[in-house]
Amino acid sequence: MNVRLYVWQRATAALMAPLVLIHIAVIFYATRQGLSAADILSRTRGSIAWASYYGIFVAAASIHAAIGVRNVLTEWSPLTDRRAGRFAAVFGLLLFVLGLRAVAALVL
């Protein structure tokens, strides 16, 4: 892993640490009496705060996961660095698009 990817990996990790903690707390809160779409949407629909929170979370997770997958492929698969990098970039982009689509479905 080069220095640029290392810094992105660690920076997104530091950014996500509080976001993951909040996410776990929300999971516990939301599942206290069973989950329903109405409950979830009543919290998220039209909320700029949740849109920002999940938007940042999706962006950070996409970058973090893509770099992690690249590292695993480089070390554990026969793929060359270049191919592992391409696969990881496509994977990260896919996560980002699917994540933003999910956020849009929850907040719009």
């Binding site: 992690g68 695993v72 689509r101």
Partner: protein
């Protein structure tokens, strides 16, 4: 000879690094499906409700507990890595790694106790 080269692979910190890597990989595989399910909330959430009813099955709840464990252990393992790299070295890394795994298991068990 081989046994000597593989000896480190039984150490607590090697195991902690492996758990961190595998939990990250599992979460990366899970994420696209998580996002696809959340996108079912579009058009009033009927699709999402139908999926949420499916998740009432005990095996699915158990799998959710597993995901909570993976997320927590990856978070705590990552915090330990960030602390090692950015702060002064502290002894007791093996104890911290064990504590992270134990705490993650407790969080997952509390989740399971609440949803069952």
């Amino acid at each position: 000879m081989i046994a000597r080269h593989l000896k480190h692979r039984t150490g607590t910190l090697w195991l902690a690094a492996m758990v961190h890597r595998l939990s990250g990989l599992a979460l990366a595989i899970f994420l696209p499906f998580h996002f696809l399910v959340l996108a079912l909330a579009v058009h009033g959430g009927a699709g999402l409700d139908s999926f949420l009813r499916w998740t009432d099955q005990p095996l699915v709840k158990l799998a959710e507990g597993g995901l909570i464990f993976l997320l927590t252990v990856h978070l705590l393992g990552g915090l330990r890595v960030l602390a090692i790299e950015n702060l002064d070295w502290r002894d007791g890394q093996k104890r911290l790694a064990t504590l992270a795994a134990a705490l993650s298991a407790i969080v997952a068990f509390i989740f399971l106790a609440r949803v069952f």
